[in-house]
Symmetry: C2
Subunit: 199 residues, 2 copies
DNA sequence: CCTCAGTTTGACGGACGCGTCAGTTAACGA
DNA sequence: TCGTTAACTGACGCGTCCGTCAAACTGAGG
């Protein structure tokens, strides 16, 4: 081997730059040149690692998701009380810090792009499934311990996740009536509704 | 006056075509020529009524919203029982028929476009406010009649609307796990949670 | 020192689409 | 019938950007 491969590192660098740009100016306005500049490289290099713009975006969406999930894994393992676990998980999705906001914005772009792209729909479905599995798992755990009301965990998980998606979107849009603080209240109310009164 | 103005009719025709195209191929891919063809006219005419593409899209988003609300107004006036009124309203947002699906898809495109456009954020905020006011009104009415649980109507309305947005989005994406039927169940569960047990 | 594969570069061809514009049509009043 | 003006048309100029490509570079092995 002539020299150690830099492929993995360079790909990450480009994908991160792509997510930055998508978050800032949107998929629609994104130019390969923007990504290259942000990554501190040239358009030629971007094309060396990703044949087409579509390839790049698909990879960026995937990367964005993997990162989001990796960031949350510790959260789920730290907390043993399902009530705390659920709250920590939901809290982690509030679009407060830059990293979370960026991830949400990229996510939103994926949604709309996926409306017209089967391949991305598949990706969204996988991710959504994973998310639902996690939340439903926490709910089931809480029910087993007699902490949550006895309702279909999958149904409740879907409702909760849908709500978080919808609220986050409005918060991201800078709605005057849906601030992050308001979003937190709405989520807290929903979670409290799921809990059984303390014994 | 040389002849009767056809402006109003022609504008509608173009806006409807624009929404069709946005729904089908997305804002990103939309070409003025697509809209012109769909409207059965020429690109010149489109530009005659809308100076720029941005103007056209802004007007189309506004038109889409106005139509959506107009279609629902009768619903709210027909039903006197707040429980029925709430259900009818929520039901009307299930992405079942073509008209509703189209409206949702255009709506989703607006969201993402608005992430990078102050003007559209303003529009979204107005619409979201109107929607929240309607739902909160129904909830308050139901509470006054002792039909709904006594919780902050605005908070509950926000949660419900957010949930509908999030669920509809997944349904539109053709998620295997979030069909319209599933969405209906999740909404029904959420509504039932708001109601007090029958006396 | 030379070779060679992996990597990088940026200029360029070609396609594409917005917005302009000069010219045409049609309805109305005079 | 003619002048006037709103309404309409579609070709084209111009700028933009993707993806290609030929050439350059880099570092490890021979």
């Amino acid at each position: 081997m002539p020299r150690p491969s830099v492929e993995a590192a360079r790909r990450e660098q480009i994908l991160s730059a792509a997510c930055d740009v998508v978050s800032e100016i949107g998929f629609k306005s994104l130019r390969i040149a923007d990504v290259a500049r942000r990554a501190g490289t040239s358009t030629g290099t971007v094309h060396y690692y990703f044949d087409t713009k579509a390839d790049l975006m698909r990879a960026a969406f995937e990367w964005n998701f993997t990162r989001s999930l990796d960031r949350r894994r510790p959260l789920l393992e730290e907390q043993s009380d399902p009530r705390r676990r659920l709250r920590a998980f939901v809290e982690s999705y509030l679009p407060i810090d830059d990293v979370t906001v960026r991830a949400w914005r990229v996510w939103a772009e994926l949604w709309v792009e996926a409306l017209h792209d089967r391949d991305l729909q598949e990706l969204n479905d996988q991710v959504y499934g994973e998310w639902r599995r996690i939340v439903a798992g926490v709910l089931r755990d809480g029910q087993d311990r007699g902490l949550f009301r006895d309702e279909d965990p999958v149904l409740v998980a879907n409702g909760l996740i849908g709500m978080i998606d919808g609220l986050a979107l409005q918060a991201l849009l800078g709605s005057r009536s849906m601030t992050v603080e308001r979003m937190r209240e709405v989520c807290e109310r929903a979670i409290r509704d799921l809990e059984l009164a303390a014994v």
